[in-house]
């Protein structure tokens, strides 16, 4: 277990998530990428908590997981609505709103 390696992994997951969010087309893939983002953040928070003995960061990671689940629930409901109304699951095809 190494502090730097864990932070490296956290940054890796976060950056991968950023890539996914910016470059995947499927809305669900975007959601999964957002999960990666949050997981990267949670890993960083727990690493801090473990390394510095900072329970505050761990508490926040705990809340973070719950918030993520709530977000995903609303996000998936919106995704289903989008599919129902437009028949499209690719985020980059949804561009009625622009300018």
């Amino acid at each position: 277990m190494s502090f730097r390696a864990l932070l490296f992994l956290s940054a890796w997951m976060f950056a991968t998530g950023i890539f996914g969010v910016l470059s995947r087309r499927h809305v669900v893939a975007l959601l999964l990428s957002i999960e990666l983002l949050f997981n990267g953040v949670n890993l960083a928070l727990l690493t801090f908590a473990w390394a510095y003995g900072a329970l505050s960061a761990a508490s926040l990671a705990f809340l973070g997981i719950a918030v993520t689940v709530a977000e995903v629930a609303v996000g998936l409901a919106i995704f289903l609505l989008v599919v129902r109304l437009t028949g499209k699951a690719a985020a980059d095809e949804l561009k009625q709103l622009a300018g």
Partner: protein
């Protein structure tokens, strides 16, 4: 009686419960009215709410002032909603809509009074997540769903940044409470940078504002009216507290330079983007971005005056901007499209609406004698006192650009002939009454601004 300091919060919670019960009994429209009434009662209860701290939530004059702005925005939006929902045949969802709006309101009110990072994060999310759902409520509109999806994606991505930022801020002081103690200095700049990403999204600051025009264009207009004021006010005002209680005492004075930088860019980009717009809701969205640039100038001053001035700014903004959005809602309910062509000749169709619009546009543009002039002037004073002359100069220059697009809207409404062929119905009386009332405040307030300025300054406690 420490619990009394949370009186408005309790009242909104009670309203939530009551609204839920009424909605459950199959009367969604009544639920909407109950929510509005409850909000109004909570707003009035602020008069008797004392200072105090309870459950880690502390309330002082600043918090009460901010909560009044949030409650005012919610009440205006809820009052304008029933006719809007009826017109767009969304009445079955009126109860859900009211509940989501109340949840958001609660999130904002709690956010104003939190004093620890954990609660800050959760309250922040409570201010966000119900709004994603509420933006998607018009299920006949594919654009509505698209806008909601963009809103959700933007919010989620930035809240990942925020979560990390809040985590780092707790590590700075080694405690969950807001505190100026610095244990691990290295976390402070990184934490603040990440925090600003999350807040940047919430207040639609450059370059985190991209969601705003799309969501504003597609979401139900009364909700947008709320969305354009309350979350921004909550975000900026709590950011003020964080800067004053944590960041500046901890010695990161360059934070003010970051904010000044963001202020300049936000003003420039918001105003320039508003210029070529033809859709009123998009135009107001970008102009809202520009206005955040102005408030950020007061924030960048980092003084108690700055805090007082931004309280005042949001009070003014509450009336001018919500008034404008509710006016747009009335236009939509007349069967007109909310674009420049759609509102052409509005004066002939509804003089009251068009003249109120003129008042809002003048106020947003900062023309003397209306409220918006004073809010801009005082923000400039606050920035000038802190020596931020570049911001003052830029702001004054961009105010010219802003006037151009605001007056262009006024020109279409008052001077250009009607263009839309199909006959427009009369605007709903209830909404027009709200709009005229807001216009009245904007005009009369412009003559006696001290009525608002002094309480705002006192509340900021400088």
């Amino acid at each position: 009686m420490q619990t009394a300091s949370l009186l408005p919060v309790w009242l909104v919670l009670a309203t939530l419960g009551l609204t839920f019960l009424v909605d459950l009994s199959g009367r969604p429209r009544t639920a909407l009215r109950v929510a509005a009434l409850g909000g109004l009662v909570a707003l009035l209860s602020l008069i008797w709410t004392p200072d105090g701290a309870f459950l880690g939530l502390s309330v002082d004059a600043y918090v009460r002032f901010a909560q009044a702005v949030l409650l005012g925005a919610a009440v205006l939006a809820l009052l304008a909603s029933p006719p809007y929902m009826r017109h767009f045949r969304m009445e079955r969802l009126a109860g859900d809509y009211a509940l989501l709006l109340l949840f958001t309101l609660l999130g904002g009110m709690l956010l104003m009074s939190v004093r620890d990072w954990l609660a800050l994060f959760v309250a922040f999310e409570l201010l966000s997540i119900p709004l994603y759902a509420a933006a998607a409520l018009n299920k006949r509109s594919p654009e509505g769903a698209e806008g909601a999806l963009k809103f959700f994606l933007f919010g989620s991505v930035s809240s990942a940044f925020l979560l990390l930022g809040v985590g780092m801020m707790t590590l700075v002081s080694g405690s969950t409470a807001f505190s100026s103690v610095v244990v691990r200095e290295a976390f402070l700049p990184a934490g603040l940078a990440l925090l600003l990403v999350g807040f940047g999204f919430k207040v639609a600051m450059f370059p985190f504002y991209f969601w705003a025009p799309d969501v504003y264009e597609s979401a139900p207009t009364p909700l947008v009216a709320f969305l354009s004021v309350a979350p921004k006010a909550a975000g900026i005002l709590i950011l003020f507290r964080i800067l004053q209680e944590v960041v500046l005492p901890a010695g990161l004075s360059s934070a003010l330079a970051w904010v000044a930088f963001a202020s300049a860019l936000t003003m420039v980009v918001g105003n320039l983007l508003a210029l070529p717009q033809t859709h009123l809701k998009r135009l107001l969205a970008y102009s809202g971005v520009a206005h955040i640039g102005y408030v950020l100038a007061a924030l960048a001053a980092g003084t108690a005056e700055g805090a007082g001035m931004s309280l005042f700014y949001f009070t003014v903004y509450l009336f001018s901007n919500m008034g404008a959005f509710l006016g747009v809602a009335a236009v939509e309910m007349m069967g007109l499209s909310p674009t420049l062509e759609g509102v052409a000749g509005l004066y002939r169709r509804s003089p009251a609406l068009a003249m109120s619009f003129l008042a809002f546009l003048l106020s947003l543009g900062g023309i003397p004698f209306v409220l918006g002039f004073w809010s801009k002037l005082f923000v400039f004073f606050a920035a000038a006192q802190a020596g931020l002359w570049v911001l003052v100069f830029l702001g004054a220059l961009l105010a010219v650009v802003a006037l151009f697009y605001y007056l262009n809207v006024a020109r279409w409404m008052l001077i250009v002939e009607e263009m839309q062929e199909e006959p427009a119905g009369p605007p709903p009386a209830a909404v027009v009454a709200l709009v005229v009332m807001a216009a009245f405040v904007v005009v009369v307030g412009g003559l006696v601004p001290q009525v608002l300025v002094q309480p705002a300054l006192l509340a900021a406690g400088g």
